[in-house]
């Protein structure tokens, strides 16, 4: 495994999500729940207590009828690169639980090490981190659906989207066994990407010109959430609608999206 890794140049896995295509169906959320053993409670309508690694936000142009418009925005973990891997959440974790991988660009999380101080949640402006306020409980019989690929998280620790890291591990192992130095684009796709019925999500290595995301992220209508903070996220969004792009960041009255100097 290690050898296979050494032979390959660093990757920066990321996403480009087409907000014109996204219908807000939530299939990506469901796929993520099923893929990553996300627990569920009797009442999940209190969203501030609900664990959703992928969360689909509803945006509105706040105009009056009939000029009203809405748009959905799926929000996984942005796997922020910050400045040279200085992600908002990684640098603050006192116990080195979470880490920015220079091999994959994935921000990891070791649940067995997290002691639940929640400093990382304070650091994340995207609310992509979730705390296990309760013990995860599966009704009798339902624990049968748990996937062995992802460890179940205990009460009192923080969890978040992993870009389905175990799928990367699986692809890597396969490649290694078959003696290939590297994995192909389609070999490692996240569960939400695979699931999206609208094919709105594209996933791949942002560094690799052969991967679709490489082109897509250069779309003139592409933007990232809260770029101005310098979080340097690896999830891009594309929208043909100006008001949507403007909802992606904070702007002063005179400012225009796309014409702003950002640190990264």
């Amino acid at each position: 495994m290690k050898k296979a890794v050494d032979h390959t140049k660093p990757k920066r896995y990321g996403m480009v999500i087409d907000l014109d295509k996204c219908t807000g169906c939530g299939a990506c959320m469901v796929a993520c729940f099923a893929e990553n053993n996300i627990p569920f409670k009797k009442d999940e309508s209190e969203k501030l207590l609900s664990i959703t690694w992928m969360r689909v936000y509803k945006l509105s142009n706040k105009k009056k009828y009939p000029d009203t418009d809405i748009c959905y925005l799926p929000r996984p973990c942005m796997h922020c690169e910050g400045h040279e891997g200085h992600s908002p959440c990684v640098s603050v974790c006192p116990a080195t639980v979470t880490d920015y991988s220079t091999e994959t660009g994935i921000v990891s999380q070791i649940y067995t090490r997290c002691f639940g101080c929640r400093y990382c949640m304070a650091a994340c402006p995207y609310h992509a981190r979730y705390f296990n306020w309760w013990d995860p409980i599966w009704p009798k019989g339902m624990e049968k659906m748990l996937s062995p690929d992802v460890s179940v998280r205990m009460r009192g620790v923080v969890e978040k989207c992993s870009f389905c890291y175990h799928r990367y591990q699986r692809a890597k192992d396969k490649a290694y066994v078959e003696g290939r130095p590297d994995i192909e684009e389609e070999e490692y796709q996240t569960a939400c990407t695979q699931a999206c019925p609208a094919r709105a999500i594209t996933f791949g290595d942002l560094n690799n010109p052969k991967h679709k995301v490489y082109e897509l992220k250069q779309d003139p209508h592409a933007f990232r959430l809260l770029e101005r903070l310098g979080t340097n996220p690896k999830v891009y969004y594309v929208s043909s609608r100006e008001w949507v792009r403007k909802s992606g960041d904070n702007y002063l009255r005179h400012e225009e999206p796309g014409h702003i100097e950002t640190k990264h």
Partner: protein, 412 residues
Amino acid sequence: MDSALIPKGVKRCSLGKFTLVIAVAGAVLLWGVYAMLLCWIKGLNQTNMNNYYGFALWIWADLAVIALGGGAFFTGFLKYIVGKDELKHIINYAVLIGFICYSSALLILAIDIGQPLRGWFIFWHANIHSMLTEVAFCLTCYFGVLTIEYVPLVLENRQLNKVPFFHNLAHNMHGIMAVFAATGAFLSFFHQGSLGGVAGVLFGRPFGYREGVFAWPWTFFLFTWSAAAYGPSFTLMCTKILEKASGKQLVKDNVVDLLAKISGWMILTYIIAKIADTIYWALVTAPSKGHTLMDFYSNNPVYGIWILVLEIVIGGIIPAIILVTPRTRRNGYLRMAAIILGVIGVCANRWVMVLQVMAVPVMPFDFWAMYYPSWQEVATTILPVAYGIILIALSYRYLPIFPQEPELNPVD
């Protein structure tokens, strides 16, 4: 009945009355302990915290008591390093209060984390880039120092002191106390600062984020400074309370006046720095991230811009002016008013630096979530107060905390 334990030359209330006080405080303490056990056994679902308020009442309480406990290191610093010898008459009490504040802070932290039994990972898997790591280490070390500063006091107890070993131990420790005071001051400068850094380094949270020098954002220095400024005020406040409770003057006016004056000047200089910081933040930092000052203070169901006024004007400028002006400072009532305002001011500052940092929506399509603590949070936050009262009561009754007391209240 327990007179054998009571220091020579001072008078104490009857054991019955004393027991009553302890009993009442004890009851409150038990309530807090019950809530604490609930949080440990059932988990943090016992609180009203949520994924938008991962930091809430508890972290605020931590920052507040640590700021207020700052009286210990700063008074020590003034006495042992700067050489303000009068302060020896109040240093014991300052140390005691510091000890209470810091032990409380550590206790609350132990309840606040989701995996208390793994709390030690913060040392084991320490990440040196994290402000919390710095806090954890300095906090623990400094608590050790405070203990070392408090122990000789305990050993001063009439009976314990009879044991030659303890007598000598206490004596020798007093001898080298300056060293510990220096260490304490040094450690405090850091952990007070890193507590400020906790919010200051959050570049994803424009409300808390500040530029600075090297790894340290401006809040790092502002926190140390404010702790040094307001801590002594809190010491004086507690002294006043104890004087009221015991019905005796315990410290001479010149000592109080000196500490109040120093506190005043510190608050004044701090608040100037704070104002400068706020202006730079409002005019440069925030706009660079697309925010205007009012973004942070509007759309809030409860407090608008007033929390800023409370923190800077009511809790800063006003007490500063009162305490630096000799005439107003010497007026007991005004002085106490200023001290109380100051304490409120620093608490308000810690409040915004914790809860408002969490609350202010950063994503334009996000909203300002509200939070109010559950009874379990309140109880566990009051717990330290009860514990403090008990420890103060015991210490005051059985230890020679106030050297000037016999002289000020001769027993005939």
